[in-house]
């Protein structure tokens, strides 16, 4: 009865896709000795409506100490990345969103949150094959261990590929994201650099509605 009175969800002018991803990444903090790499799972949902689109990207990566570094304890990084996009002209769209990454155990790595702002350039390589390059700033970054970043000190870069398959019902997705936070800490003896850097690769698929 309840279901019968709910209007059907019309998707004629909008597209929605969601699906799982395999995630692999590289994480570094403070110095080249404190480096981790690992893998995990993720999910990506995309909604397109007229000139607007939105990405919600979730991931959970288990970072293990790299054999070439001095780190000893693994940690899990759970990240939420939300991007709202507005098509401007030609291949260019503007982006606004936020990113939040939590480390577990809490003191093994920095948890971080920031507002993201940038642009995306998308290009149709062929029927159903799109690639996109994006870049931008991460503003107002907050760290669990304290520290600050200047206005242009936190940058991100991304590369994406989407291939439509099975009559546009399935999308094969591949994404690359690079983040760099030029974080500085001050324990009273002056500002000390404590940068954070992460490279994430994601490969997966999505069901399109």
């Amino acid at each position: 009865m309840v279901l019968s009175i709910i209007p059907s969800f019309q998707l004629s002018a909008q597209h929605f896709s969601v699906g799982p991803q395999v995630v692999f990444g590289d994480y570094r903090e403070v110095s080249s000795d404190l480096r981790y790499n690992g893998g995990g799972i993720g999910a990506k949902a995309t909604l397109e409506w007229k000139k607007f689109s939105a990405d919600i990207v979730l991931s959970k990566v288990k970072y293990k100490p790299d054999s070439h570094g001095t780190a000893t304890t693994a940690f899990d990084a759970s990240e939420v990345d939300v991007r709202l996009r507005y098509y401007i002209t030609g291949p260019v769209s503007g982006e606004l969103g936020f990113i939040n990454r939590k480390a577990d155990p809490e003191f093994e790595a920095q948890s971080v949150g920031a507002i993201t702002a940038g642009a995306q350039m998308a290009y149709l390589l062929g029927p159903g094959v799109r690639m996109a390059l994006r870049g931008g700033l991460m503003l107002g970054a907050k760290y669990s261990g304290g520290g600050t970043t200047s206005g242009l000190g936190a940058l991100q870069l991304g590369l994406g590929l989407t291939v439509d398959a099975l009559h546009d019902r399935v999308r094969v997705t591949g994404d690359y994201g690079f983040q760099r936070f030029s974080r500085k800490t001050d324990d009273g003896s002056g500002a000390l650099p404590a940068p954070i850097q992460q490279s994430l690769g994601r490969v997966g698929f999505a069901i399109a509605f």
Binding site: F24, S31, N37, G135, L157, L161, Y176, F178, Q197, S199
Partner: protein, 264 residues
């Protein structure tokens, strides 16, 4: 001379063969023709035409100046005068084969009667004709215009290295950007993640370059075809109107029949 007059009265259509008759006899025959009143050589053309848009040719020769009345008799209409004139010599008429109301003459057998009168003398002759009705041919609708053919509305663009080139550029920017933006204190950045995704994009660009490009709409051809369709539709509308008019018309066929006797 009197003998020739008698011959003409008995057989008005009679003519002498100039090759087999003496000039003197021919001259006497011509003089005899001018001294008696006869209507000779009545001819009705065999014609087909659309009612209201044509006419039947009628010709005769009257040998003396006289009042000549031409009528059509028979069928369901009784008698209808179609011409009255004072004439001498050859007369040509055109009869539209229409009733006084303007409608085409009904199908049937008729007589075209020509009666010449001078004083007390009169002579008449007739030519039977048959009028039949038919359907006016209609014009077929057009599916194309002669000399103009539809053009393909899509065209396959030439193969291009642009997808491969752009894939290389995008991937190159991402990897170079990663290298440039990476913090020096953290060592050289990991290129594994960017390399995997960038490699996938370059591979996709390479495949798209080799793949036959998808047909693209040919705007010029689409516009041309639209104009052509519009022209054909407009012409077919005109043809439909013309056919509606033609279906209300009658095709008349007038055929002279053999005569059964001479005139009196």
């Amino acid at each position: 001379m009197d003998a020739f007059k008698q011959v003409v009265l008995i057989e008005p259509e009679r003519d002498l063969d100039p090759n087999r008759t003496s000039p003197k006899a021919l001259s006497a025959f011509q003089v005899a023709l001018t001294q008696i009143l006869v209507v000779r050589q009545l001819r009705v053309d065999s014609v087909n035409f659309i009612g209201g848009e044509g006419a039947v040719g009628i010709r005769y020769t009257v040998t003396q100046p006289s009042r000549v009345v031409t009528r059509v008799t028979g069928g369901t209409m009784g008698s209808m005068r179609i011409d009255s004139t004072v004439a001498n010599g050859q007369v040509n008429l055109r009869w539209p084969a229409r009733m006084p109301s303007g409608d085409p003459v009904p199908a049937g057998n008729y007589n075209v009667v020509v009666e010449a009168t001078v004083g007390q003398n009169s002579f008449s002759t007739s030519q039977p004709i048959r009028i039949t009705h038919g359907v006016v041919d209609t014009v077929a609708h057009l599916t194309s215009l002669p000399g103009y053919t539809y053009l393909p509305e899509t065209e396959v663009p030439p193969k291009s290295w642009r997808p491969m080139g752009l894939a290389l550029v995008y991937s190159g920017i991402a990897l170079a950007g990663t290298s440039a933006l990476s913090q020096g204190d953290l060592g050289s950045a990991s290129m594994r993640e960017g390399g995997v995704i960038g490699g996938g994009i370059v591979l996709a660009g390479f495949i798209m370059t080799l793949k036959k490009p998808a047909p693209q709409p040919a705007r010029g051809n689409i516009l041309y075809n639209s104009l052509l369709r519009e022209q054909i539709a407009r012409r077919n509308t005109e043809i439909a109107q013309e056919n509606t008019r033609r279906r209300q018309q009658v095709a008349l066929s007038v055929v002279p029949l053999p005569r059964t006797g001479g005139g009196r």
